[in-house]
């Protein structure tokens, strides 16, 4: 499974980073950087929480 970011929607609020810091980091310019995209089974819950908590609904998990 992979996580995908819709950069048109993302406003860099960073909530995803606090839920799954191995995947997401907001940089100095306030833009989201995807650190990795492949999700292991152990990581799935954290990434799902990040997806659910994004205010702009910019994140998606694709199988």
């Amino acid at each position: 499974m992979k996580v995908v970011v819709d950069f048109e929607k993302c406003t860099g609020l960073g909530i995803c980073e606090s839920m799954a810091p191995e995947f997401f980091e907001v940089n100095d310019d306030g833009e989201l950087v995807l650190l990795k995209e492949d999700i292991s089974d152990e990581e799935l819950q954290a990434v799902e929480e990040a997806v659910a908590s994004c205010p702009t609904e910019a994140l998606l998990i694709r199988s």
Partner: protein, 414 residues
């Protein structure tokens, strides 16, 4: 106990997330969503930011009516407020209709505090609803001389937007320092400095004596006699939880609906979520009522999951987070502001457009504030959630500063 019918009162963020979470958890009973506003659920933060700035923006609805009705299978009861709750017979009253529930989530949020004596004046607005935002936006478009009463986050965003439009704007704040409740005294003053730096007039420590005009607002008179001409007055003096309709229902109210760690009200089958809910946050072990987006969204989902399966109810724990956008600056705060010490660990509040401050209680890190520190803030949210010590936080801040210097050096050398 099997739950076959879920009723959600309050059709905004927390209410919508409640509905979605129930379906996601596999709930296939009936869901009724009751909302006082005629609108489908919509997002509030844009109302004082992007939506207010762009005249052609569509209202920020979360979902279409088709998605709500067909995909989520929700019966929508919009445009009418719930007027009562009978917890013995398990019915919500909406006008002369009674809606029965097996499980209930209350997400009625907050309503604005109003300034007494201004009700009859055109041009005086609060900013909570889509209708409010549309009204304020058209006044700004008409070039209104604007007075914002109350220097909170929402009022400040409106003022920043008006300044950006080149309008004449004054913010009036009764307290000597704004934003103290949200960020503490030192940081409240520092953040307020952003207004001055961007050319917005901010008057603190002066109350409003009168808002005057003949049918339509013409001027604001302050306690010290200052008269400010105005075509638009935006009142941002806080909100109160919408709980009047629960009087006599047996649900305990004390600055919001009193809940336990699982968002349960203590009345069988009744849960609460969002701005209206006061609950015990396990992260700090204290009672809190949030007025922010993230908590409302998460609590809506958590309350619904617990309401449909009360025997497996889980506590809802969070490190509070809010943000606010003024001018070109993004202010972000995580944790809680009541602290024994607030320490600036990076940047300079006087000149820099970027800084990081940490909040200590005892030997623990309990909060962090950044202005244009998007890459720093969430690392502190993670630390607070893990119960990080103050020393660990300071050591982390030191490493981040060094890293930033290395990066800046590399950039300069390149």
């Amino acid at each position: 106990m099997t739950v076959r019918s879920l009723v959600v009162v309050g059709a905004s963020l927390a209410g919508l997330r409640a509905v979605e979470a129930a379906r996601k958890a596999g709930f296939d009973g009936s869901i009724t969503l009751v909302g006082a506003e005629p609108h489908l659920p919509y997002d509030r933060p844009p109302l004082s930011k992007g939506f207010l700035a762009a005249s052609d923006d569509e209202p920020p609805h979360f979902r279409t009516e088709e998605v709500l009705r067909d995909e989520l299978g929700v019966e929508l009861v919009l445009g009418e407020a719930a007027t009562g709750l009978d917890t013995d017979r398990r019915v919500v009253r909406v006008g002369d209709r009674e809606i029965g529930y097996d499980a209930l989530v209350i997400a009625t949020g907050c309503r604005l505090r109003t300034l007494p004596g201004t009700e009859h004046l055109a041009g005086v607005h609060g900013l909570r609803t889509l209708d409010d935002s549309v009204a304020v936006r058209s006044a700004l478009e008409a070039g209104a001389r604007t007075v914002v009463i109350g220097a909170g986050f929402i009022g400040s965003e409106v003022a920043a937007g008006a300044t950006r439009r080149g309008l004449d704007v004054t913010i009036v704040e009764a307290l000597p320092t704004p934003l103290v409740r949200a960020t503490g005294t030192a940081m409240g003053a520092a953040i307020a400095g952003l207004h001055e730096r961007n050319g917005t007039r901010l008057l603190c420590g002066t109350g409003v004596a009168a808002v005057e005009g003949d049918g339509r607002v013409e001027r604001v008179v302050l306690d010290d006699g200052t008269v400010i001409p105005a075509d638009l007055v935006v009142v941002g003096i806080g909100v109160v939880p919408s709980t009047q309709w629960l009087e006599g229902s047996g649900v305990t109210i004390d600055d919001g609906i009193v809940c336990d760690e699982t968002l349960w009200t203590g009345v069988p089958r009744v849960y609460a979520a969002g701005d209206v809910a006061s609950w015990v946050n396990p992260v700090f072990g204290t009672r809190q009522r949030m007025e922010n987006w993230t908590a409302a969204a998460e609590q809506g989902a958590a309350a619904a999951r617990n309401a449909i399966a009360p025997d497996q109810a889980k506590p809802y724990a969070t490190v509070p987070y809010f943000w606010s956008d003024w001018y070109d600056d993004r202010i972000q705060f995580v944790g809680v502001p009541d602290a024994d010490e607030v320490l600036l660990v990076d940047g300079d509040t006087e000149t820099a457009g970027r800084w990081v401050a940490l909040y200590r209680r005892g030997d623990r890190l309990v909060g962090a504030l950044t202005v244009n520190g998007q890459t720093e803030i969430m690392k502190y949210r993670v630390m607070i959630a893990k119960g990080a010590s103050w020393d660990d936080a300071l050591a982390h801040a030191e490493r981040r500063r060094e890293l930033a210097l290395v990066k800046a050096g590399a950039a300069a050398g390149a």
